[in-house]
């Protein structure tokens, strides 16, 4: 029995159109010892500007970074952001959020009429952090939650257990997510963790946070991603393949772990806003492909249900039937997801969006599906949060 929900909040999409006209990214690797985050970002930025055909010093109106101090190890990370992105002596802001929230910010800056060309960046240099679990635990409430200690991923184990009971999803169905995504990753030159692994092998991997198993947890990875966005009319002039950001929503549930249900309400509400803006009434029918957060394998199924693409408990069955594979009705995580590409912390959302954009542009080497037109990318901010965002893209 849920306690009363807030009334539906209507998000309207007035204002100007916004499109992505350039993307740039580095390789994604588990360690990058020879480069600092500055060089990673510079590399991704150079590629993005090349792709968009613009000069950042002359053409870009505003820059947005998505970062959190404790991932980076600086008390005010914003200080270290401008130079490698082309933002020195320019409007630049740090969104303490994930890449899709940065995208939403760029959307608002352009839609409002304030700017015409905006750059969004997110990166992971998580290999610089020596005490990852301690820092994740640092995000727990210091009075009520953090003192319980332990490896913070136990929260994912708790949610998975609740999700399985709530929906009737089986452990095998969750394990099958790993097999699909790591298999997809084998075809993705950007994904370092591709592997031919069977559901049985995943089921046999040890429980780390029962019922969450070792192979169901995405490994961490480094990398940087930069997007260039432009107002719609301008985008059509500047690019021959602009990808339109038709809808973007984001949502936060209560920060208290014990106050949330295992149905990823944050994803449902963010999606609702995005669908409304994009004019999508039948998501399953109108979406051609989807990228969702799968840091923990069960999250893929949970998120698909929250997005309204399956009824509770049904996502696992759709997976087993092959509906979510590359030849299925709704390919999910063709990139390999986080399980295949690595958990890129705040850049994860942009990694999901990147795949959608590459697919819509017909540039998804080795894994391209046939002429997709509309795709959805979803992100989640990770343990212990109930915050996430959804973006919907359409090919011009």
């Amino acid at each position: 029995m849920r306690w009363d929900r807030e009334p539906e909040i209507e998000m309207k999409m007035r204002g100007r159109e916004v499109a992505i006209i350039g993307v740039g990214y580095t390789n994604f690797n588990s360690v990058t010892p020879d480069l600092s985050w500055k060089e990673l970002t510079f590399e991704a930025a150079v590629r993005a500007f090349e792709d968009a055909g613009i000069d950042p010093r002359r053409d870009v109106d505003s820059f947005i970074t998505c970062a959190e101090d404790y991932w980076e190890g600086f008390a005010i990370f914003d200080e270290f952001t401008p130079d490698q992105l082309g933002g020195a002596l320019r409007p630049m802001v740090t969104v303490a959020g994930d890449g899709l929230q940065g995208l939403a910010t760029a959307y608002m800056q352009i839609s409002s009429g304030l700017f015409d060309i905006v750059v969004v960046e997110a990166h992971s240099k998580i290999s610089d952090l020596l005490t990852y679990e301690d820092v994740v635990l640092l995000a727990f409430d210091p009075v009520y939650e953090a003192p319980l200690g332990g490896h913070p991923y136990y929260v994912a184990g708790l949610e998975m257990r609740e999700y399985l009971e709530w929906t009737g999803t089986t452990e095998e169905e969750c394990a099958a997510v790993v097999a699909k995504n790591k298999g997809n990753a084998l075809r993705n030159p950007l994904a370092p963790f591709g592997a031919r692994v069977s559901t049985d092998e995943v089921m046999s991997s040890p429980y780390l946070f029962d019922p969450l198993k070792e192979l169901e947890i995405a490994p961490l990875a480094d990398g940087a991603i930069v997007f260039v966005l432009a107002e719609g009319e301008l985008a059509r002039r500047l690019s021959d393949k602009p990808v339109f950001l038709e809808g973007i929503g984001w949502w936060s549930e209560s920060p208290w772990i014990g106050s949330r249900f295992p149905d990823a309400e944050y994803a449902r509400r963010a999606a609702q806003a995005a669908y409304q803006q994009a004019g999508i009434k039948d998501p399953l029918g109108e979406l051609d492909l989807v990228e969702v957060d799968d840091r923990f394998a069960y999250k893929e199924l949970q998120h698909l249900e929250a997005l309204g693409l399956a009824r509770p408990g049904e996502a696992g069955q759709l997976l087993l039937e092959g509906a979510l594979g590359r030849d299925g009705e709704l390919p999910v995580n063709l990139s390999g997801g986080s399980l295949g590409m690595g958990d890129l912390v705040e850049a994860g959302g942009l990694a999901r969006a990147l795949e959608i954009i590459l697919q819509l542009r017909g540039e998804a080497q080795g894994r391209q599906v046939d002429e997709p037109e509309v795709g959805l990318a979803q992100s989640w901010r990770g343990v212990p949060h109930g915050t996430g965002a959804v973006a919907i893209f359409r090919r011009c």
Partner: protein
């Protein structure tokens, strides 16, 4: 209009007594220095200060970096600097890094290095000069640690001291 300000002030003693939870974050990092900083540190160990030049704007950049933030392009070549410079700005500090009072002040500031672009420099200590004598525009030179003590860090330079006899203490 604030008619009734909210918030309960606490004295130092009260603060120590109200219920609270203490914790020590364990957040440790090992940042990759990247190519520019790595070379900079190697050269410091050798008793040299190295910079990078961007051929488009012509600026010689120190601290060195692999890209010029003004032109947004990779920088082109390494340039050794003589190490001398002038005081760009300074402070006479009676507090240390933890805000404790210290008797002997620390003289610190920015040195605009000769051979580098205008205003380009490094932060460092000043030595062999009195707080009364130090001034903006004073010519300085680096005093290095003995080679055996250098480790490839900014502290391989002990401090900058006045070049002119009359400025020295």
């Amino acid at each position: 209009m604030i008619t009734e300000p909210r918030g309960r002030k606490l004295s130092k003693e009260e603060f120590a007594q109200v219920p609270h939870v203490t914790a020590q974050p364990r957040a440790r990092y090992a940042w990759s220095a990247g190519p520019a900083m790595s070379r900079f540190l190697e050269e410091l160990k050798r008793g040299k200060i190295i910079a990078r030049r961007c051929n488009r704007c012509g600026r010689v950049l120190v601290p060195p970096r692999m890209f010029c933030e003004r032109c947004f392009r990779p920088t082109d070549e390494w340039v050794y600097l003589p190490g001398t410079g002038v005081v760009e700005t300074f402070s006479v500090s009676y507090i240390d890094t933890n805000a404790n009072r210290i008797e002997e002040p620390i003289l610190v500031g920015v040195i605009a290095l000769d051979g580098a672009c205008e205003h380009c420099g490094l932060m460092h200590y000043f030595g062999e000069v009195s707080p009364e004598r130090i001034h903006i525009g004073m010519p300085v030179e680096p005093v290095w640690k003995p080679e055996s003590e250098r480790e490839g860090a900014i502290t391989d330079i002990k401090y900058f001291r006045p070049r002119r006899e009359e400025d020295r203490q």
